[in-house]
């Protein structure tokens, strides 16, 4: 397979479309947790009943189309090889815990990979919708419509007082988790991010690095999401998140201007060095790759680097994850071999730009 074809397969098509404020907000996501009224929750381990949920979903919704979200395809965990599951996890289409549910787990994924409905993860249904850029309102609207589409056929667990009933008390009420993926290199460079995160936490929102562990955010990519699901309407939850995200965007823009002015040639040097490493290295670890990719993306957004597509950061952050590298190599790789393959893949990908 040529690299271009491999990438086309590997990157969700929606990721390549332009979105609002997408120099900073790479994508928006809305997730709704829903359960069948009459079936024990997946956390109960009542596997027979859960298999019935899976079969029902397959019978009613496999190969069905809904509006723009062309054709849903049912993918059962049982039918996938471990590496295939990991690829879906790395594409954020399923969660690691769903990947472990061999007999009961499945996902309905739309052809453009914008919508993914996890079946029998922690709840019977986890309806997720992705949008490029800062598009939370649209994402919520479409997720609600998709929810109505399912609700036509499914009797959801719902209580007048408590709202949509979920297996974890942290999701009850709306079952809504709205989030954005943000690239915040300037706030990271100026260390402002460390002051910002506790402030955002105080507002009842959660900030975490998307890749990497602990406090370290690989590629300067952060996810901001709501924590509270009960006592606020879906619209208010999204509006509150949006107003905070808007402020973070403004702060990041100001920090970018500031580093441009203050660092000047030093910043330019850093960005071009990072580009040089990506374009020439023969061995590269994921941490270094993430740092360089973040620099290059910043260089593109600041107009210092030209003729490189913006999606290179999200694209290569996904492509250089272990499972993708192994799929590209078509064999199991040791960590050292992975670093070689990662370097190869990045070099080849950059060559496609010219």
């Amino acid at each position: 397979m040529s690299l271009q074809n491999f990438i086309n397969d590997a990157i969700s098509p929606w990721l390549n479309t332009e979105g609002i404020d997408n120099d900073i907000v790479l994508s928006s996501r809305v997730r709704l947790a829903r359960n069948f009224e009459q079936v024990p929750f997946p956390t109960s381990g009542a596997n027979e009943a859960l298999v019935k949920v899976l079969e029902y979903m397959e019978q009613e919704f496999d190969d069905q189309s809904y509006n723009d979200l062309k054709q849903f395809q049912m993918i059962k965990m049982n039918d996938l090889k471990p590496v295939e599951k990991r690829v879906l996890v790395e594409k954020h289409l399923i969660s690691p815990s769903l990947a472990e549910k061999d007999h009961t787990g499945a996902a309905l994924i739309s052809k453009n990979e914008q919508a993914s409905v996890m079946i029998n993860e922690e709840d019977h249904l986890r309806i997720q919708l992705y949008f490029p850029g800062f598009e939370l309102t649209k994402a919520l609207e479409q997720a609600q419509e998709l929810d109505d589409w399912f609700e036509d056929k499914i009797q959801y667990a719902f209580d007048e007082q408590r709202g949509y009933l979920t297996s974890c008390p942290t999701n009850v009420g709306t079952g809504l988790r709205a989030s954005v993926m943000m690239h915040l290199p300037a706030l990271s460079m100026t260390n402002q991010i460390n002051n910002l995160i506790p402030e955002i936490n105080k507002l009842g929102l959660v900030v975490r690095g998307i890749y990497g562990e602990g406090s370290e955010a690989l590629g300067q990519l952060y996810q901001i999401s709501n924590q509270m699901t009960l006592g606020k309407s879906e619209e208010d939850i999204v509006e509150d998140l949006k107003s905070v995200v808007k402020q973070v965007i403004e702060n990041e823009r100001r920090a970018r201007e500031w580093i441009m002015e203050q660092l000047g040639i030093q910043l330019e040097d850093r960005i071009f060095r990072s580009y040089g490493i990506l374009a020439n290295s023969r061995i590269i670890q994921s941490k270094e790759a993430a740092k360089c990719l973040s620099d290059v993306r910043l260089g593109i957004d600041l107009g210092l680097l030209e003729n490189i597509s913006k999606t290179i950061l999200n694209e290569l952050m996904v492509l250089t994850q272990p499972a993708f590298l192994q799929q590209y190599a078509k064999k199991t790789l040791s960590p050292n071999e992975r670093d070689v393959f990662r370097a190869n893949l990045i070099r080849e990908r950059l060559q496609l730009e010219h």
Partner: protein
């Protein structure tokens, strides 16, 4: 205070055990506490379940013993999940658990959802028009208060009529389910 077990290090872990009304205090250093099984440092740090279970408040209104006994035997009649399991895992077993454990849930939700206990968001169409109308009625009544406060009486009169119509519809009952 020195550790009761090794008598060498400073005691930093303090436990109060109550067995059959007999109170015992235990003072250990971290090392001995771990050895005696009082602390599990190897457990994968703080999981969400643990965080959640630490959110479960003690039930203050009922006398300790009564509530303890009730909690021991409380069980969801549909899926068989006990209240103790729910406390430990932080997960419900089925939708019926919400009703089964209802008397203990309000303080939990308050802690998890910044003081909120009542859903104000989306309502499934299937649940019926009645709830939708009730929600609408609440909103109109709030609006009416605001309009009166603002002395916008013409508009207020309109809203009052809307409320009246809505109330009539709700009273008819059957039509509300349409």
């Amino acid at each position: 205070m020195e550790c009761q077990r090794c008598h060498q290090n400073e005691a930093t872990v303090h436990y109060t055990q109550v067995v059959n009304g007999q109170k015992t205090e235990i003072h250990l250093c971290e090392k001995c506490a771990e050895h005696e099984g009082y602390m599990d440092f190897n457990d994968d740090s703080l999981s969400i379940h643990q965080l959640l279970t630490s959110m479960f408040p003690f039930d203050q209104n009922v006398s300790q013993q009564q509530s303890f006994q009730a909690q021991q035997t409380l069980k969801c009649d549909r899926c068989g999940t006990t209240y103790q399991q729910f406390r430990k895992m932080g997960k419900f077993g089925c939708s019926q658990c919400y009703a089964s454990f209802e008397s203990y849930l309000t303080p939990i939700f308050k802690r998890v959802h910044s003081g909120n206990t009542k859903h104000v968001g989306k309502i499934p169409k299937r649940v019926g028009g009645k709830l939708h109308k009730q929600r609408e009625l609440e909103q109109l009544q709030e609006k009416l208060q605001q309009l009166i406060h603002d002395e916008a009486f013409e508009e207020a009169a309109q809203v009052r009529d809307e409320i009246r119509t809505l109330k009539e519809e709700l009273n008819k009952g059957k039509d509300g389910d349409a």
